[in-house]
Symmetry: D3
């Protein structure tokens, strides 16, 4: 039986039953009662890009094992998959077994082509950051990638819409940088350094709002995200990195032009204004060419 | 005395009186009365990028000559220019004389650098159109540039905001094409032919809404623009060119893939949806990748 | 057993089980699985004004016959009908048989009283069009009714709200014309010819957006409607008819007052502006008395 | 010199100076200072449909007389009228004299043709009211016209837009009734009695919000209008008339169908909902066919 | 078995089955059919703050008794309560018996602590009203509490959101008065009498819109509420009380300052403007300090 | 001649000319030209609560002195003040002289009663802060008042609307605290410490957006305010104070309940959410009782 991803099975099952294996994390296992008061167990199963529900009736041989599963369980589900008109993807004649450590690592790493794509995107970001001329902005990017790079690579770009999967933020950021690099020569008034750094940091607050854990696929809700939102978290992160770097490089940065405080404010402006309008959550509207450019580049990539 | 443009004079006069000559069209000459019931004459003067008002009191030696001027008059105004706190740019100690035919031609041609820029933009459009692979779309562009190229090169891109000068639409269109050419490789799902042709035609209705006459700088109001708007004019123009070409090439186009009717509808969709939302005047919202891309590229260039 | 329409059965079944026959088209037949993985077949049945769902279990004698039905099948369903609290109208103890060609024709023709009403509405439109004085506008109406009259009579006025049934657009158009005829004498500034023609054409784009096929009750989605919307389709249709007539009558129309181009633009304005505001999809807002009147007459009839 | 109205003079003066007489009320006379601190007097002059400003310099022979004028003064102004580019209509070489009582009465009566039109409109309303079948609704209309008819005939339909002149509300109401009479036969579900009475009362709160005094043309601001608005004033007026009539006719009304309380609530609904949506000031949105019809008829007449 | 309220049971059942008794009104009993066409009976049960559904299968011993229940039935339900994942609170192994008159009275009185709280709130309102200095406003409050006090104490403050239970309006009104009493000293410009009376009457129209009957927990829909809304009902109620009191106290009120008509209009303004903006249903926006204060105090208490 | 404030003079001059002295800062002195090209000088004069314009003609004895004035000049203007119908407050027959150092200090201190009021407000804030129980929140307030107290006391609460004068923010903050202290006992669910601290900091970003200098009345525009807005500045200020205090008190704060990070996030939430909705500039909407309360208390005081 082929080893497929949930998305591949879902697609294939639209044309009829599919016999396949899939490797998944158990997001949670809940004990439930049928209307007739018989107990069953409902498993929510997830891989990198999709999720499905498996109902385990109490007379199934795996009932006991499934009932004891937790969010730490990773399993292989082998089954005949059907698309049910009302309940979506369903498994019949199924068996489960725990994944070996190797299988689990491979699953968390993601499908090879996605992994390769995200690796290329991540490398492109690292390389682009090296092209930044202003020493302050470059130092800021270096510090961010060093301190938060791993978490950055695990973050989704959104909860639902575009790039809502582990690593989606890296993909979105890299693509925005590519656009910026292409169109900057057409608008000489744009400060490319500033625009690129703005792109790197514009959604960095999502490292808390949309973070996925190192060893799983479940995006929790974060108190920080709920109470102050990803824009304000992003402003705070930049301020905190800047303060540290600024103290360490006090002499070197003192006489740079433009003044460091101006650079900092312009960068914060890019983060604060990137939603474009107050009604979409931006506390300030775009007032600089870089802020305007970043806002439209963000929309362009998000909608394509 | 130097020959300057109105914009150059306006800029210079902010730091004090400026002695200069300027070549302008008389947009209109209106007889008026002061509060004390003394007659004077108010001239509205325009060059390619700017306009000013000249009040001619009845005791000025040129009063009679100015009173008889019409929108066909082109003059040189030599004066000491001041910035008045309330009335803006004002001329003192001034004289006027009609332009020679050569001077008038040079004025209508526009400042040399702007002329060169618009020539380059126009050439870039022509060249880009040659890169279009689909024979139907390329024929459509050719027909448009052949039949309406001159009017296109005289059209402003807007009445007030961006590119509101003769030829502004060519500048805007060329820049949008440059962006499209740069970012298309980043989004393989985009049909570049379609996107480029959509850019060429997206504002073609403005050839009527914002047209500037061959020999002047005054944008009139057009009944067509008022009653049906530039989007519907654009749709009609494409339909009319398409019908003609489609009849002439009936055999050649019959078996092309995708079907010609599909190509026509997708192109019309780009024009109809380019304002993005109904509230901004688009009768349909963007539903294809090209429509989405065109909408954001349009915004990006308009705001930068 | 009485032969009723679906709406009549639905109404009657609210007070208890109803034994009746109904003639319907099979919109589609889909093979499905119960939760317990047993196959069944779901038929969507429609007549002129209503639709219901029939689930055919695999042990029903008609299961095989029903499974093979297509959108070309027209059947009589005889049953005891119930209103189920959760699933709506349901059939018990039912049998089906194909319709005879005569029965099918009668069904497609619609209930006699509706047919009579739509016939009267259609006649009223034809008669009203005869009262139009301007030869161009009258010719345009004649051409439209001749070329597209059949399709017009099959078109619904909306997908969901008012008049969403075959022929609904004729009913809506006739009623709007009646209002116009009544109130025009109260507003001498209205050009009645223009207003009546505007009413005839205001929704003519729906001949594509909301068209029902000659031999069925299922409104498909039309690429034209999706990509450019019924307003732009309507503008294109008028332009296309106008062009042809204008060429054929070049001499006769040359010296008419007002100029033909003005008449065309004012008519296009009525179509473009009839939704009243950009946010409701009109690319221009009403600027003439006729456009204002048409907009409110449209609303009045749609909401009553 | 001809005796004209202000509107006639304004129109004529656009083509050059006009020698004419005009009869006006002095709305107010204000003592002012020029920039050079010289006193002058500013008169605001009004007739039935228009108003102008007259500045009286301190060296004018009529300065003293004008300075003492009040809102009780009615004068004839004979002058050469000019259109000033900035200040609008201006009087030169002018004289004033008080109106005779006959002239004042004629002025307050309004131009003969307007008076005739409003008389016809008022008669039409009275006659239409006689056609009402329901004895409660007819009694209500009778009581209203008897008690408030004079004030009603003096009320403007709006402060700025449509029908903003003395008697404008009668004109608007009559025209709405004419529309209702014409279209009601087209919609058998409409209760014509209710619709007509709703039209009569829909703006009756404006008798306070937009009332013009018996002997003048100045619409004051009314505390009632400011604090509760014309919709709530209208509801209160109907309630107050209804209570009185209902007590007087207790026996006669007791067994009528539909119940009197229903009739009252449906009529109040027409007043409360006639602006159509909360955002335009209606505390309830239209929920009955009559409320929907009244709302669109109101809009139709207001915009035409 | 403990006697609990529905809310207490719902809370407890989240951690497992609960054996308990609950006293409830039968809101309605509906005969239904299962999908397999077997009859059952669905009871909607309510107490002061909550409701649940009980499905009685036809083989249950209480089936016949339950089928005959009406909105006049009050019962004790003793059962093992479960939380069903899809259907919410469900009863197993249950029995019912009618309540004794004493039990029914206790149920309608509400839980002791809620009754005590509402009693305290009601007393606080009565006491606060006594502090009102203006004799007209105090008389108005007295008349209202005397005539409508009982209904007032039964009214919910909302259909869904805040205080949506019997007596909720008293709780909301008392709390708003407490806030007003506390903050009035901080704003000397506020007329406290007016503000307190405005609070008492601001939602009095809900006595019809949200009224609960004397002997039950079911809020019906009221024609008055539907057709004119609680704001207009409130204005009418105040007008009607005022008219009566004003006639009875004609002499006493004649020379009071401010004038009685001013007091009436300012009070009506508080009712009309308390939603703050037209879009939320207020026919006028707040124009006095008391109206502004009332609007924000209302929001503050509603959202906390 | 009496020494008055500008506001007092403005009020008095409405009833006729006023002879008085006023002490003012010269905000700026601009050289201008009359329409006839004669030079004059325009002074903008300000005191704590108001401003006026003084035009100094070139033939005035003080012309030269006034032309040389700067924003450092403080003068006494003695004059006859008039209200000009078009130009507002104007000075006639005036003289100026520089203020003595004592007079300047008194002017900057503000009118005695305003100074006393702001002193009382400032003291109330200091005292209220002492009542805070949570050691972290109290330390934060102490640090803020110690480090930024002077600047806080000079800040206006708004650029135009409420409290737009030096010290206005202290007045607004104190009044909000008074409301909070009064209503908190009515809502036991409110954490009073948190609410009070939220009030102190909610507009602290305005110390940069609306700051007035120590020695003048002119509010400049601040790059920080323009680029990131007062909400984000406030978040940054709290973060920066918190970081310092948190490091200094690491041991003491470690085991406090609730956790310090929770306290910090809840406080940041109060600042971020205090505008209530995204469209008014809040990056998050209020999600805690304290945030809801703060939002409405802010509105209440701002509008009263």
């Amino acid at each position: 039986m082929d080893l497929l991803t949930l998305s591949e099975i879902r697609r294939a099952a639209q044309s009829g039953p599919v016999n396949a294996r899939v490797h998944v994390q158990v997001e949670n296992a809940t004990a439930k009662l049928t209307r007739e008061q018989k107990p069953y167990c409902e498993l929510s199963l997830a891989d990198a890009c999709d999720r499905m529900t498996l109902r385990v009736w109490s007379d199934h041989p795996a009932y006991k094992a499934c009932s004891e599963m937790t969010a730490e369980s990773f399993v292989e589900l082998a089954a005949e998959f059907h698309t049910h008109s009302q309940y979506g993807l369903e498994a019949q004649k199924w068996t489960v077994r725990p994944l070996t450590p190797e299988e689990k690592a491979a699953l968390l790493g993601g499908p090879a082509d996605l992994r390769a794509k995200q690796k290329a995107d991540s490398d492109f970001i690292a390389q682009t950051v090296k092209s930044i001329v202003d020493p302050r902005l470059r130092a800021l990017c270096d510090a961010f990638l060093k301190e938060w790079g791993d978490r950055f690579r695990r973050t989704a770009a959104a909860r639902n819409y575009h790039h809502a999967r582990r690593g989606g933020l890296v993909e979105h950021t890299a693509q925005m940088m590519r656009i910026a690099v292409e169109i900057a020569p057409l608008y000489p008034q744009l400060n490319v350094d500033l625009l690129l750094v703005g792109i790197l940091f514009h959604d960095c607050g999502k490292l808390w709002e949309n973070a996925l854990p190192e060893s799983g696929f479940t995006m929790g809700y974060d108190e920080r995200g709920e109470l102050i939102g990803h824009i304000s978290i992003g402003l705070e992160l930049v301020n905190s990195l800047w303060r540290k770097l600024s103290a360490e490089n006090a002499n070197a940065w003192r006489d740079l032009v433009p003044a460091s405080e101006d650079v900092r404010l312009h960068l914060l402006h890019l983060i604060g204004a990137h939603h474009g309008e107050a009604q979409f959550g931006s506390p300030v509207s775009p007032k600089t060419p870089e802020a305007m450019a970043l806002h439209y580049i963000d929309n362009l990539d998000a909608r394509l």
